[in-house]
């Protein structure tokens, strides 16, 4: 009827959208169904026969899975039949779909309203499964000998399928009863949290099929077991900002926590670590290799998987292959790093800036408001089948006294643009105290009054050491002073676990409790209106402003 791109009549047709009859898709053995669903529309998929898995997580038969804002693939080892049908269009609070920058939501012409969908016969799944079995071999060895399980680093350019591979390896490991520690070092995309975070999570239970990695804990129950992430805030997209000093320090701290967990958690120790990285690290820029080295050392990586980049593979081979690992026992056990090259899946699609922005907004929205998509996946056993199992969260809006908050901001001249769009009122002060001295002067008199941030006993020592060479005085964190900058509005604030008067290094290294969304700034009265996930007083902790990243999120609060 109408050609894509010329569908001027489509907007009106969209409102009267009559769901197309469900279509059935038969997948032969070893093939996958790739599909893309736009934000604002939903597609329902049901497994009618055979077995199927989405990034390694098996679909339950006859359950309806609802997808939205997804580019994914359902693979089958044994062949299967899927039923695909269109779900309802999601209406968001303000009638604006998350990806609504495009105007009307774009329901595609594929089966069930997918923007694009097709069956692919060629997939690298066999390779990926073999990686899993090779890791499993190492895990069995680890169990037998008492060594640590394999630590895997996944590298590759943007949109090469790194996170998908991470999911597949995680899903397979949990499927056979392992408990991998999954580390996300990609600040552009959150794992169980919002963008701008580096996280570590132990996965014992299934990954949510419908919603990325699943959900972090909420006050209520969840149909898919929640995952408990340890979250650090890195409010920049590029790990190499400030010569990587901030990123490196956080990675070190994160690695220490993960190692601490490994030492105490037998299941995690045997299973090992899977580290997902930002694609930007795989660009051949100076400093990247150094950063990868840092990660390999901190996590005592044993296996480096390089997806879809011959060049990176050769660099990695040169630098790491067959080198002893950085683990303490490496010398004794002769543990060596192996570098493996993997093919990129033909299904990997570029996710353009608009889509990524929508993904990020959706992650932030989900953090505060829960998942708006009604899911029927787990209602089967429910006695009241009518109750939807989607979880709607109720964040609490409240006014905060600016003076009572201690908010820090990273003052780094961006690598990409030197234009520092600081709030005019701040500029003067900011220029006056350049990083370092200002904070020390501010902090020193107060230090005695309040104890330092809660640091890890036994771990605090080494952390301080790794930090100090970089120079505590050069931590580019600056405390904001009155009046509140207007630029605060519509951005995220991360509440750290560090005390309000902790040193910048401590604030930088502290894991975070959660986020506040600034709805409104009243500079004259010195008040800000925020949205907090949890009711009650906002904890009196040091707060870091996510000014550059994840940046402004418009329309979270109507």
């Amino acid at each position: 009827m109408s050609l894509p791109g010329l569908d001027l009549t489509q907007p009106s047709g969209d409102r009267e959208f009559a769901p197309a009859p469900p279509s059935q898709i038969s997948l032969p053995k070893g093939s996958e169904w790739r599909f893309e669903v736009a934000f604002g529309t939903t597609v329902r998929v049901k497994l009618l026969a055979g077995t199927a898995e989405l990034f390694g997580t098996e679909l339950a038969p006859s359950q309806t899975y609802t997808f939205s804002g997804t580019k994914a693939a359902i693979y089958t080892w044994h062949g299967c039949t899927l039923e695909v049908s269109a779900g309802e269009t999601i209406l968001t609070l303000d009638g604006l779909a998350p990806g609504g920058v495009n105007g009307p939501t774009a329901r595609g012409l594929g089966a069930g309203g997918c923007q694009s969908e097709y069956v692919a016969e060629e997939t690298p799944m066999v390779e990926y499964a073999n990686v899993h079995f090779a890791l499993e071999t190492l895990r069995q060895e680890a169990k037998a000998t008492g060594k640590d399980g394999p630590r895997v680093l996944i590298l590759g350019p943007e949109d090469a399928g790194k996170t998908s591979l991470t999911k597949i390896l995680t899903a397979y490991a949990t499927k056979i009863g392992r408990q991998p520690l999954v580390v996300n070092l990609d600040p552009t995309e959150g794992m169980l949290s919002v963008p701008g975070t580096l996280t570590a999570t132990a996965f014992r239970t299934m990954i949510d099929v419908e919603e990325g990695w699943g959900s972090s804990p909420m006050s209520g129950p969840s149909a898919v077991p929640v995952k408990l992430p340890l979250v650090y805030f890195y409010p920049m997209q590029n790990p190499l900002e400030a010569d990587g000093s901030v990123y490196k320090a956080i990675v070190s701290r994160l690695a220490l926590s993960v190692t601490g967990r490994m030492a105490e958690d037998e299941d995690a120790r045997e299973t090992g670590i899977i580290v997902d990285t930002p694609g930007i690290l795989s660009q051949g820029k100076a400093g990247n290799v150094e950063m990868i080295k840092h990660i390999v050392t901190e996590f005592a990586i044993t296996t480096i998987l390089v997806i879809g980049s011959e060049r990176l593979y050769s660099i990695m081979m040169k630098n790491f292959d067959n080198k002893p690992t950085a683990s303490a026992s490496a010398a004794a056990s002769d543990e060596r790093v192996s570098v493996i090259k993997l093919s990129k899946s033909g299904g990997c699609v570029d996710r353009d800036a608009t889509f990524m922005k929508a993904v990020n907004e959706s992650q932030i929205r989900t953090y505060f408001f829960g998942n708006p998509i009604p899911s029927t996946a787990s209602a089967a056993l429910s006695l009241s089948a009518s109750s939807t199992t989607n979880v709607t969260l109720s964040p609490h809006a409240q006014q905060l006294d600016w003076g009572a908050l201690s908010i820090y901001n990273y003052t780094i001249a961006s690598l990409d643009d030197d234009e520092d769009e600081y709030d005019p009122s701040q500029l003067g002060a900011g220029d006056a105290f350049l990083p370092g001295g200002s904070n020390d002067m501010d902090q020193t008199p107060q230090k005695e009054e309040s104890p330092a941030a809660p640091t890890l006993p036994g771990i605090a020592g080494p952390v301080k050491e790794t930090v100090s060479p970089a120079g505590a005085s050069t931590v580019p964190l600056k405390k904001l002073t009155a009046p509140a900058p207007a630029g605060l509005a519509n951005s995220l604030l991360a509440i750290t676990h560090a005390g309000p008067t902790a040193s910048p290094a401590e604030v930088r290294d502290a894991s975070i409790m959660g986020f506040l969304y600034v709805a409104d700034v009243d500079g004259e009265k010195g008040k800000i209106r925020v949205l907090a996930p949890v009711g009650g007083r906002v904890p009196g902790r040091a707060i870091v402003w996510g000014k550059k990243w994840p940046g402004e999120v418009v329309g979270l609060v109507g």
């Binding site: 499964a129 014992r204 340890l230 299941d267 969260l393």
Partner: protein, 654 residues
């Protein structure tokens, strides 16, 4: 969640109550039902306890226990039908094989009601899903058919083997699944000779436990001079026909089966063997004695006046007539085979713990001696033979009389040694993949290799037991089943909690800090609800640092009354701090406890009440104990046993 007790405690209590239930006591059963109703959150634990109890309790007490199940599923329904239905086949069938025929009839009746909706209920669905009851029913039908076929086969076998020396035991050709029988051939043999011994010796048989007193010996007086062989055959045939129709009507009645079998045996003997006129005469007398009394159990006592043998007076133990055909009907082999066959389709439970059952069975004081090599016989034939009417059988004709005669209360299946054949062995063949060795080298060449189907099956086929809700897979082993059961319970609870939670506002919890994260352990969904809830609180409660970790501290809702709110703790004179609790959605006072009309810090209160013999050691004037002050009087009314301690609390801050 109402009781807050751990499932273990509830289960333990329930177990104890169940053990007191030895008779069909209506009051007790309804009481147990009420307990089950009030503890639906522990339904799984209670169901397990019930199943275990039914499995291990003596046969006589199985019926009341099954009546508890019946009452619970009819009065409470879900989730019990869910949990109990899962293993109902095993529970029911195992009990069924062990109880006497009277109880079986009651079980049959009960099973019938399970196929119908609960009487008076609006729900039109049957008590248990049809597939659950159907499998039991079909198993019972199969058992009956198999027993009948087996019996006929045996009869023929008897005839064939009669007179042959060194014939292999008949049961090797019987329809009994050979593998289950041959696995313990010695056990089966063991059981056989005792019977023979009893037949041969004929004394020492206790009559106390005899359930069928009507089968008392009836002396035979009728004698005829001539015996017409064809007439005798006709008589026997007529009797067989009657017995057959009786059997068809009442396949479970042991005496009928016994009679039919005896007649068939006798017919065989008559057709194959040349008997003397005298022998035939006796046979005819026996037959004619049977004819007018079809209701009476078959074997008759041979008149003592017949001086045919020198053995002590022959008394055929009537218990045999009961036990023997029952033994056949639910022959261990048959039943095991059946249960095994059907169990594969069911969600099987662990095989019954034979070791648990055994000690509870009244053990036979005269355990069969394995040294005796002869085989048992049909009592009628034995009686004839004992009188010299039939030539002595030189080979064991059949294994069907394996029961020790003097275990009337216990079902003959439970013969020590033989019982091992009974359990439905659903032996898990699959090994956990973590045990099986996977060996794939971590190098690019190895990774690029073709699919390793065998290993991929470790992700799929090896774990054949699949959760229908989320697709999680479990092993088909006992362990896997248990895990799946817990997993399903988790789904169930979560769904319940989600529908509850949908009514109140929820929110994202704060993330944990490093220390908590390192200390935290991922709660699998199979873990106990209490645990997951506790960990959830640990996460959610980070806004109230005082409550974090450690044992939960007592708290109270912050009072609305302004004066009360400003009243300090009487012990330490510090004010209370209000904190917002996410869990209760209200302002609370942490570490606070209300005693009477006053609020104390729980820690202060505990310290004061715990510490030593208070008045003397604390140096409080003991005279104050008796001081009549208003607060004191009020407190006394609360009836504490140790007034001294409380007095201190009250008086000190005044």
């Amino acid at each position: 969640m109402s009781s807050g007790l751990a499932s273990d405690e509830v289960a333990e209590d329930y177990k104890n109550s169940l053990e007191d239930l030895t008779t069909n006591d209506r009051f007790q059963i309804s009481n147990l039902t009420v307990i089950a109703k009030e503890n639906t959150e522990h339904a799984m634990a209670i169901s397990r306890v019930l199943e275990n109890h039914i499995r291990t309790t003596p046969p006589a007490q199985k019926l009341p226990a099954l009546y508890v199940v019946d009452s619970i599923v009819k009065n409470v329904g879900t989730p019990y039908t869910l949990f109990l239905g899962r293993n109902l086949y095993q529970t029911f069938m195992n009990a069924y094989t062990l109880v006497d025929s009277q109880t079986r009839r009651k079980l049959d009746e009960m099973l019938k009601t399970w196929k119908e909706p609960v009487p008076g209920s609006l729900d039109t669905r049957p008590v248990f899903p049809p597939e659950v009851t159907r499998s039991i029913e079909s198993a019972l039908i199969k058992a009956r058919t198999a027993a009948l076929q087996q019996q006929q086969a045996r009869t023929q076998q008897d005839i064939l083997t009669r007179g042959r020396v060194g014939t292999p035991p008949a049961w090797t050709n019987s329809p009994t699944p050979p593998q289950s029988m041959s696995r313990h051939p010695s056990a089966a043999n063991q059981a056989l000779p005792g019977h023979y011994q009893r037949n041969g010796a004929g004394h020492g048989y206790p009559s106390s436990g005899e359930p069928y007193p009507r089968a008392t010996p009836t002396p035979q007086a009728q004698q005829r001079s001539e015996v017409d062989l064809s007439a005798l055959n006709r008589d026997i045939e007529a009797l067989i026909a009657t017995a057959r129709s009786d059997f068809a009507n009442n396949p479970l009645e042991p005496s009928v089966q016994q009679r039919l079998k005896a007649l068939l045996d006798l017919q065989g003997i008559l057709q194959r063997q040349e008997l003397t006129q005298e022998q035939l005469k006796l046979v005819r007398d026996q037959v004619s004695a049977l004819a007018p009394r079809p209701a009476i159990a078959a074997p008759q006592t041979i008149p003592p006046s017949v001086p045919a043998v020198s053995t002590p007076p022959m008394v055929t133990p009537p218990t045999q007539t009961l036990s023997q055909p029952l033994q056949q009907l639910l022959n261990p082999g048959t039943l095991a085979g059946l249960i095994k066959a059907t169990a594969a389709r069911q969600q099987p439970t662990p095989p019954p713990q034979i070791h648990n059952i055994l000690p509870q069975i009244p053990t036979n004081p005269s355990v069969p001696q394995p040294s005796v090599s002869a085989a048992p016989e049909n009592p009628l034939i034995a009686a004839l033979r004992a009188q010299g009417l039939l030539p002595p059988a030189s080979a064991p004709p059949a294994p069907f009389t394996a029961a020790p005669p003097n275990v009337p209360s216990a079902f003959p299946l439970i013969v020590p040694g033989q019982v091992r054949v009974t359990p439905p062995v659903a032996t898990p063949q699959t090994q956990s993949t973590s045990d099986s060795h996977i060996s794939v080298q971590m190098n690019t060449a190895s990774i690029k290799m073709c699919p390793r189907q065998m290993l991929i099956s470790s992700l799929y086929e090896t774990r054949s037991n699949r959760c229908g809700t989320c697709g999680q897979r479990f092993f088909a082993t006992e362990d896997g089943k248990e895990k799946k059961a817990r997993h399903l319970d988790w789904h169930f609870r979560t769904n319940q909690r989600m529908s509850e939670a949908a009514r109140r506002a929820q929110n994202r919890s704060w993330y944990v800090d490093e220390r908590d994260w390192i200390k935290s352990r991922e709660a699998g969904d199979e873990q106990d609800l209490a645990e997951t809830e506790a960990s959830g609180e640990g996460v959610a409660g980070s806004d109230s640092t005082a409550a974090k970790k450690g044992p939960p501290k007592p708290w109270i809702h912050a009072p609305n009354d302004a004066t009360l709110r400003n009243t300090p703790c009487p012990i330490c004179q510090e004010k209370f701090e209000s904190t917002w609790s996410e869990d209760v959605q209200d302002w609370i006072w942490q570490d606070a406890i209300k005693v009477g009309s006053r609020v104390y810090h729980a820690s202060c209160y505990a310290e004061v009440t715990k510490d030593g013999p208070p008045p003397a050691s604390r140096g409080t004037p003991s005279g104050r104990t008796g001081t009549p002050d208003s607060v004191l009087g009020k407190r006394k009314a609360e009836g504490t046993d140790s007034p001294g301690q409380h007095v201190r609390i009250k008086t000190e801050p005044m």
